[in-house]
Symmetry: C2
């Protein structure tokens, strides 16, 4: 169903960009998978395979043993199975379609559009030399970006379900955190809840949830340690789930009250409030047509003007089948982000907003919300954290 829906969407994107052929060329996808593949087939393809979408049709050329599985999808007008080699089939189809442009899955600036390996590129170019089509190759970045970012209702529903489950587990863990618990114990509790819910993880479970307590932690992309929760420290977590193949990605900030404290001290409260305000400011500027760099700048400047250092990453990324998904980014003009911050927002995009700042001797204040871009703005998909979660 999803695949039929997405291939129909792809045809319309090809018409919109006037590209008459999009070719996904893969082999042994269980070990070298193109990130576009889950929109085009279920499971894996073994031998060299070509998935061809035109403005009106879709064709698949796959190894004989993969043919029946692809036919079952009822998404392709023709499915060819071969035994010895794919070359003659690819050149036959290309001659028949005779496209002015053949869009293929590579991009320097967007990893999500860069599933074609260099070896497969060379192989394909050799095939096309034989029919003098080699100069028709163009990158499929616009097609793939549009296909991923224009979320259908079913996709938004799956993401929302993942968010709700994440929210629920955050609420549960808030009740059991106590001073003296280790990051690992907190993570173990949450993983147990994930198992009970039958959900998957949005990224490598070794660092999902990531739990960081106090100052001087790895701060991100690191697994929970034996470090102990201490009074007077901030604890934050980064946690995302996968439900029906779609992801959530949320961060929450906790403060561990000292004996006698009824609320967080001013330095912690001010850091947290600055984060929450910057998220809301950023969200309010989001609408179709605005570039991501503007949104990032809004939050970044707000935080710097409040006297904190700027966060060492983008403000927010898209979310979809992967926790980091899509081309357009709410980010600064840094080398590694290439042209991503200059893409215009579009209705249906799902973004995180996740600024951070250090509170000296306390830890990191950071909140990560998820929003969807609407016709006129952006709405929270998550229930935004407006108050510090106080642990006594």
């Amino acid at each position: 169903m999803l695949i039929q829906e997405k291939i129909t969407q792809a045809k319309s994107i090809l018409r919109e960009h006037d590209i008459d052929c999009w070719l996904t060329f893969v082999r042994e996808t269980s070990l070298n998978g193109d990130p576009t593949l889950p929109f085009l087939i279920e499971g894996d393809l073994t031998w060299h395979s070509a998935l061809i979408v035109t403005k009106t049709h879709a064709y698949a050329i796959v190894g004989q043993y993969d043919k029946k599985g692809v036919e079952d999808l009822q998404a392709y007008d023709e499915v060819v199975g071969y035994v010895q080699g794919i070359k003659a089939h690819v050149t036959d189809y290309m001659r028949r379609i005779n496209p002015k442009k053949i869009a293929i899955n590579y991009s320097t600036g967007s990893e999500i559009c860069d599933g074609l390996t260099h070896g497969m590129f060379l192989t394909l170019r050799d095939y096309l030399y034989e029919i003098d089509f080699q100069d028709r190759l163009v990158p499929a970045e616009k097609i793939i970006s549009a296909l991923r970012q224009r979320k259908t209702e079913a996709e938004i529903a799956a993401i929302t379900e993942a968010i709700h489950l994440t929210d629920r587990i955050y609420a549960e863990v808030a009740k059991i955190i106590k001073p003296g618990m280790t990051e690992k114990e907190i993570a173990a509790f949450m993983r147990q809840r994930v198992t009970e819910a039958g959900a998957g993880y949005a990224w490598d479970p070794k660092s999902c949830p990531a739990v960081f307590t106090g100052p001087d932690t790895a701060e991100a992309h690191y697994g929970p340690t034996d470090r102990v929760v201490e009074r007077g420290h901030i604890v934050f977590m980064d946690f995302g789930l996968k439900v029906n193949e779609y992801c959530s990605d949320l961060q929450r900030t906790f403060y561990i009250l000292k004996e006698g404290e009824r609320q967080a001290p001013p330095d912690v409260q001010r850091g947290f409030d600055t984060i929450v305000a910057s998220i809301e400011l950023a969200r309010k500027r989001m609408r179709p047509g605005v570039e991501g760099i503007e949104i990032d700048r809004t939050a970044r400047e707000y935080i710097v003007q409040a006297g904190y250092p700027e966060y060492p990453h983008g403000l927010g990324h898209q979310v979809g089948r992967f926790a980091h998904d899509g081309t357009a980014l709410l980010g600064p003009a840094w080398e590694k982000y290439a042209q991503k911050p200059f893409q215009k927002l579009e209705q249906g995009m799902v973004f995180t907003i996740e600024p951070r700042l250090p509170v000296p001797d306390r830890g990191i204040a950071t909140v990560e919300e998820m929003v969807v871009v609407t016709e006129t703005g952006a709405e929270y998909l998550s229930s935004p954290q407006k108050e510090l979660i106080l642990i006594s």
Copy 2:
């Protein structure tokens, strides 16, 4: 430990091939993973990352948030973390190493050596243009192939453990198969055993185990169906597990006795015996220095001379971290196999041997064993199936 061991091995392979620098260049590896990565790091890398191995040293350049995780491996002499961009770090290291050749991970002929995406290739080439090193790039196929195929004792031990568990579950399922059961019911029983054992699957669990009963099935790469086991039919299964990140891949053939039958009828027995004999013939010809095509030809000709059609695939593939792993292949000179069948066998390689043949109106007779190439020959890692498994 494995990573330290494999990086040490990589340095010695670089010396052997006189290549003074091997560069693995990746980003967002949770969605575009280079299959070489599990030998170089644990988990994923987020931003553009360069993993550099020379004949004597190893260096990692990674995003700031991935730095601590890579340092923890204690496998790299230097770990650099960056925030905005990697380019200057890569060109600095390349100038410092000043390699005559820079081996990178692409290959037209071997998917396991083809982890570099085309977009990342273009990015790297642009970096190297700036220091006039662009002509030093060479494919790393020989390095990666050697690294994967020369299994250490620890790797063989993990594979053997996966094989033993697979054997055990095959033995258990043989006791519960009855006429009238569906392929799905058989698979469900086996999956339950996998869960109880806490093991992983060697490939997409939708078709692991694959269960095929009788004639006119999809024959491979297809999930179990509602088709019912019938007397007088052959049932075969393809099943592989992952234990400690290493895989097994085994097929077994069952015959469902008719009422009154005490043994399989001659057509079924002859088909099965032909398969078993061809496997043993092939294994006996395996030894270091022989090309895979010779081994494939041995089994293929034996089966054809016995009056059966040739199997529409290679005789056997290597197994490792993936069920299909490695460059050298026991296969015919078909387009899709490129130069793989012409690679010479080497001590430490682990192969499947998996011929098949159809028995008209009965099903497919096929057995898949696993062997390791030794100094002088090849030895079974699996307990070879010598007799049809008879179900009454």
